[in-house]
Symmetry: C2
Subunit: 235 residues, 2 copies
């Protein structure tokens, strides 16, 4: 079995949360739009009407396509035994993943508070205000929540010794927030030792380590979710 992943080919973006799980678990996949381009992605998505995806990323197995990051990861968890194997705990992991989704949306909203289809420079004044609130109120609120979840077991992962998709997602959050807000993340770092532990532990998972040093890992850039605009960062 090999999956087709469809996502914008030039950014990590939301697709990266799916890529990390596939790479970490050694699940074969083709990153279709990186092979065939964004136009092929648009055409493929347009052909999937009805119950098809609203937006990339989506993951395809045969005739079935699954969209929405947390939903894709729950599907992979179920199919490939990546979770706790207990219904209640697996439901709680999905819930945590959906909270990652919310933080990702808010991180994007910081540089696009007015309209996703307008450029950053068209909404920079609004973004400056949004960033202040995001850094002071929202980042600690979310990071407190994830740090508390990491206290349930002994670590380094959310479930303890076994990694699951929420861990690769927390890794990516720390990576992305540190890229976008290096000064703020440096100031916050002492408050979140467990988040930094899980970040470091994920980076050492065999499949992840290989992936991160490959050219499949697209560098962060100012077209993705996590963008480094120095004027939006502060301690």
């Amino acid at each position: 079995m090999s999956y087709d992943l469809w996502y914008w080919p030039n950014i990590q973006g939301r697709g990266e949360f799916v890529r990390l799980v596939l790479e970490g678990a050694g699940i074969p996949y083709r990153d279709r739009a990186r092979e065939e381009g964004a136009e092929a992605l648009m055409q493929d998505m347009a052909a999937r009407r009805g119950f098809g995806p609203f937006a990339p990323p989506y993951l395809v197995d045969g005739d079935f396509a699954s969209a929405q990051v947390a939903h894709i990861l729950a599907w992979l968890t179920d199919r490939h035994g990546l979770g706790a194997g207990s219904l209640e705990t697996d439901l709680q992991l999905i819930q945590l993943q959906l909270t990652v989704t919310d933080l990702v949306a808010e991180a994007h909203n910081v540089h696009h508070p007015v309209a996703a289809d307008k450029y950053y420079h068209e909404q920079k004044a609004e973004a400056l205000r949004a960033a202040t609130s995001f850094r002071s109120a929202r980042m600690p609120k979310y990071l407190d929540h994830f740090e508390a979840a990491l206290k349930v077991h002994e670590g380094p992962f959310v479930l303890g010794a076994k990694w699951s998709p929420i861990d690769t997602s927390l890794f990516q959050l720390i990576e992305g927030l540190t890229y976008a807000f290096p000064r703020r993340m440096a100031a916050l770092k002492p408050r979140y030792p467990l988040l930094h532990d899980v970040h470091d532990a994920v980076a050492q998972i065999d499949g992840i380590a290989v992936y991160l040093s490959s050219d499949r890992r697209i560098p962060f850039n100012e077209d993705g979710i996590f963008r480094h605009y120095p004027e939006l960062d502060a301690e």
Copy 2:
């Protein structure tokens, strides 16, 4: 079995998507914060550390709490046989529900583009710009997507003759968007006959009809997700 629903007591908000399913399916529940107040909600949530909710609404059964609207509804669907009974279709319904979640977040962002913890009047200028883009680009994009999903079966519901939680959610979207943007929704109405059909069909489900005429249905107001600020509306 009776569930405890915890949500802010003075708004429909995100909790309404859960209330509608419980009411429509005749599932017993207590709306705890409406009985005991917002302070009780804050205390209850603070006591649920670790894998607990990041934010209301959450639904409790015994020792287990589930948060995130789409996740709560998937859990209820599974436990109470509210879905299609086919894994692939039920996954597609969850995916649609997660897209409802995205639209709800964007609808809130229209009146709070800068910061959720600041008042509307502190970000009105930004909201005016955000509303223009939301009305012209985002509303039709989402409504097109849901209208297409309603074409998969014969209607009036997404699965055909049987309603499921995505239908009560589409009902609530139409209700909320019509409350918040009456001029825009009137202009768009001819493009979305199936969405208006499902709205009307949901309103006639026995449990929903009783609920809507009860005082359990909180009127829309300017503290919730869908707010009517006339300056943000236009054809």
